[in-house]
């Protein structure tokens, strides 16, 4: 199962005040705006900086520190998931409930998602064998995507 990341999950209606309150967070303007950006953006995975820029572009006045704070709160509240990609920066994506892993292009940064039940199961087995009570896992496959492979051709590298 491989899905192209990029198209936001617009099937469900937009989140609103109630959703925030349900999550135990006050429905403040910055939080609503950020939630909105995450839903509307064409990028499924956004860094704090991405969110901040998007906010600026729509003329909103929200500080970068707030973006970080809010994203962290959203994470704690289970609204978004944080991923640690290589290079030391995090990206966030709305948590639509269904777990998935990532495959990303080291050239252009493109991100695709996949989910493989065989791998999931093996992980559970491995954790159990090692005596661990598994809480989470992260799997990232790095490679060169189709487009970048084409661009590569004819270069000594």
């Amino acid at each position: 199962m491989i899905t192209q990341a990029g198209a936001p999950g617009t099937a469900t209606g937009a989140m609103e005040s109630q959703d925030l309150k349900k999550a135990g967070l006050k429905a403040t303007l910055p939080r609503l705006k950020i939630l909105n950006i995450l839903e509307k953006s064409r990028l499924r995975h956004m860094s704090a900086e991405d969110v901040y820029k998007a906010l600026m572009e729509t003329g909103e006045d929200v500080g970068l520190a707030t973006v970080y704070r809010v994203l962290t709160q959203f994470e704690s509240a289970g609204l978004v998931r944080r991923h640690h990609f290589e290079g030391g920066h995090s990206v966030f994506e709305l948590d639509h409930g269904k777990h998935h892993d990532h495959i990303l292009c080291i050239k252009c940064g493109r991100v695709d998602e996949f989910m493989d039940e065989t791998i999931e199961e093996r992980q559970r087995v491995i954790a159990r064998k090692a005596g661990y009570d598994m809480t989470d896992h992260s799997l990232y496959i790095y490679g060169i995507c189709t487009d970048c492979q084409k661009k590569e051709k004819g270069r000594g590298r």
Copy 2:
């Protein structure tokens, strides 16, 4: 296949000048000292800071910048592998050739290693299906280790 990380690979003799030269690196004192730390340390996975501290403790005079530089060179030379654990910092371990993934305890930081051919194969299949030319992958399982599970008992949370 699950192996406990922590016991350094002392089976083979200590690396020396020749090993560095073989790797295309000048055999300088700092590089030898750092290689030595990596071999002798009780920790298999060390951050640059860990290495630096170990150096200080043995009275060696090596700058932190050099530690970073050398570790990066070692990585390029294939002597060590760099892992990006959560929280945005890297750890390094001597590359003994055999690929493996990690399972780590979120309580005490303990790290174990494992290798599962089924998972490896699935990853290759997934990358191919997604049109990627796979260059690398990282898999981390997070959980609570046996010891920490025992300590947890009898506490709410």
